[in-house]
């Protein structure tokens, strides 16, 4: 697979190159060396894809421990790659290894924060090679949901106070992101609700109320129906805070929610995660560069603006053959169309005399697609810029070589062309072990011990997975959070 795109990439750049024999013997050797070097550095993207495929297969067979072991074997020990640390963290959480999960997730968080300061050398290298050499810091969404998983790991460890801190970090992060993000993902109703739930476990009802209210405001922008439990949670927090002046407005919006809240019962939250988020793949596109297009740029900004124009002009731009100068090949990331991240259509939480329907709370797969769409113009502009630079470099090498001999020029041009083609690759790094969707059942139960199970069903009502939750002791006014994941 790696070699297929490599071969394809050579076709167009070589249109104007005519290989001749002769010339300085050292030049071909040098160019060959450079190509081999580039291939060694970039490796084959297929290796990572195969590893993730193995991990996904293990996960679908519900063996999280084996999936973790396979992934640990496939990545470098003490890896400093944020995407790998995120995957390791989540796989360790699935395997019940909470300390390991926290270690990886905290490290990913620390490195991502550190990488806000961009490395000039890496940025420069990315313009001559590929976006893969840029230090990956995770997407905006990764950095938000990272705290959700850290909170779950702390809850798994039996440290609810530390889980609350992660809930607060979600709120802090989203507050800044909502103000400063240029993408459509600014704030998150599911994470705001989760943050509210964490606040409540610590008795911070006022903060919980603020988070719930924010979640209510945000659900319309998520493109899914607002879950019914959100009104109930908001109303209960409002009563705790004593904000009676806002009660009438909430009741108008939420109907008879006041009758649903029993202050003598406890609250149980079951987070039901389903499927696996889509994986980013690489797409190779040819952008036509016309004879009338600009060749000289005042500075890098001007070149970037020009690249963006080319992106919006499209790779399927209709042109006169006689006006075509050359093609720029760019490798771009994309999420495959038609990928079904989960077979699950219905999730319910059952127990003795209990049958609660979990509601869709977070469509992660859609959020990730939207995030990539938002970033695409910038990614594409960089890729086209890179293509133009690589082409200019190959022409310059060819022209420089031709001053000595025709053959040397051809070989040098070819070498630089090969190097450019060999290094061109899309940045397909992502948090690949995230679920595709999260359903939530948030309900009240009378005080006492309860045995609950989560039933995942497909569109035909067939049970995909039955997950028995650990026995839960409910106390009046207390909140218990549990989690179950179905990989199908």
């Amino acid at each position: 697979m790696c070699c297929t795109w490599f071969r394809r990439s050579l076709e167009t750049p070589l249109r104007e190159t005519h290989l001749k024999t002769g010339g300085t013997p050292a030049a071909p050797a040098l160019t060959l060396l450079l190509v081999v070097f580039a291939l060694l550095v970039f490796g084959c993207a297929g290796k990572r894809t195969l590893l993730m495929e193995q991990v996904r297969t293990e996960l679908r067979n519900t063996s999280a421990q084996q999936a973790l072991a396979a992934y640990e074997k496939g990545v470098k020990k003490n890896t400093q790659r944020v995407d790998e640390l995120l995957n390791l963290g989540l796989l360790a959480l699935e395997a019940g290894e909470y300390d390991k999960a926290l270690g990886s997730l905290k490290e990913a968080d620390r490195i991502a924060e550190e990488r806000l300061t961009k490395s000039l050398s890496r940025e420069a290298a990315s313009l001559t090679t590929s976006d893969r050499v840029r230090a990956y810091q995770g997407t905006v969404y990764d950095k938000a949901i990272l705290h959700y998983y850290q909170a779950l790991a702390y809850l798994g460890k039996g440290e609810p106070d530390a889980a609350v801190v992660e809930g607060r970090r979600i709120a802090s992060y989203l507050e800044v992101n909502a103000r400063e993000s240029k993408h459509s993902y600014k704030d998150d109703p599911f994470l705001q609700w989760f943050s509210g739930a964490m606040y409540e476990t610590y008795g911070q009802h006022n903060d919980a109320w603020i988070s719930y209210k924010r979640a209510l405001e945000l659900y319309p922008f998520y493109g899914i129906e607002e879950p019914g439990y959100l009104c109930r949670a908001t109303y209960a927090a409002l009563k705790e805070v004593g904000a009676s002046e806002q009660e009438a407005a909430l009741l108008e919006r939420c109907g008879d929610v006041d009758k649903d809240v029993n202050p003598d019962w406890g609250r149980v939250v079951v987070l039901c995660e389903t499927g696996i988020a889509p994986q980013i793949l690489e797409n190779n596109l040819m952008f036509p560069i016309m004879k009338y297009d600009r060749r000289d740029f005042k500075d890098d900004d001007e070149r970037s603006r020009y690249s963006e124009e080319l992106w919006y002009r499209g790779h399927d731009y209709e042109y006169e053959e006689s006006e075509l100068d050359y093609f720029v090949r760019v490798a771009l990331p994309y999420y495959p169309e038609g990928y079904a991240g989960t077979e699950t259509r219905r999730v319910s939480v059952r127990g003795e005399g209990i049958d609660k329907l979990a509601e869709l709370a977070a469509p992660l797969g859609s959020i990730l697609r939207q995030d990539l769409n938002d970033r695409m113009p910038a990614i594409a502009a960089r890729a086209i810029t890179r293509g133009i630079i690589k082409y200019a470099a190959s022409k310059a090498a060819e022209d420089a070589g031709k001053k000595d001999s025709e053959a040397l020029g051809t070989i040098l041009g070819l070498g630089v062309n090969l190097l450019g083609a060999a290094t061109e690759a899309a940045d397909t790094r992502s948090w690949e072990t995230l679920p595709d969707q999260i359903f939530v059942a948030d309900f009240q139960l009378p005080p006492g011990e309860h045995e609950l199970r989560v039933i995942y069903e497909d569109a035909g009502g067939m049970t995909l997975t039955r997950y028995d939750l650990p026995k839960v002791t409910v106390r009046a006014g207390e909140l218990k959070v549990m989690r179950a994941r179905c990989w199908k």
């Binding site: 090679t129 420089a400 040098l412």
Partner: protein, 200 residues
């Protein structure tokens, strides 16, 4: 020439990226202030504890108690609620407060709830295993006169790569018998944290 320059740049970049330096570890003085992330650290914990307890010991409740009771007060340091968005080692902070109290020589500090459990287990063990002369009796514990409770709050104001973190520590000393608050202390720390846009 331009081509060679580009090639050299690309190779140099690879070399820079792939050849990260090894780890360097050196011992430093525990009193030395080192701010790496801008988060709450050991220096904040120590400074806040010393300053606040210094303030508490200079207030009239102490002299009033000594005058009325004719002895030094016994204090128990209770829970410190972390209301910030940082994982703060409240145990270290409680330790710093206890140390400041004990070292003042004017206040007696009673072991915390968890520590007492351990001491009681030891005392129970002594009943079976220690000699009569060295065995300690039950019911002779020092009861605390006052309890210190606290909260750590944090407010963050951030824009782009600049951030101001404002910590506020509130401590309250209450009489165990009467619930009367005899001292309320507050300490604020403000930190400006800026991150560079680029590094080499």
């Amino acid at each position: 020439m331009r081509t060679l320059l580009i090639l050299a740049l690309a190779l140099a970049s690879f070399a820079l990226i792939s050849c990260s330096g090894g780890k360097k570890v050196s011992r430093i003085d525990v009193e030395e202030t080192v701010d790496l992330s801008g988060n709450w650290n050991d220096t904040d914990s120590r400074l806040v504890a010393d300053e606040m307890i210094g303030d508490a010991l200079s207030k009239p409740w102490l002299t009033n108690f000594v005058r009325d009771a004719g002895k030094d007060p016994a204090v128990i340091v209770g829970a410190m609620r972390n209301l910030s968005d940082e994982h703060i080692a409240t145990g270290t902070f409680v330790g710093d407060i206890e140390r400041a109290f004990v070292n003042s020589g004017t206040v007696r500090v009673v072991a915390s709830k968890d520590e007492r459990e351990g001491v009681r287990e030891e005392r129970e063990d002594q009943q079976a295993n220690a000699s009569l002369e060295t065995m300690k009796e039950f019911g002779m514990e020092l009861g605390a006169d006052y309890m210190l409770l606290g909260e750590i709050n944090k407010i963050v104001d951030q824009e782009g790569k600049e951030k101001v973190a404002y910590y506020q520590v509130d401590l309250t000393l209450s009489h165990v018998q009467t619930n009367e608050k005899v001292w309320i202390g507050q300490k604020k720390i403000k930190k400006y944290i800026a991150r560079k846009n680029y590094k080499p």
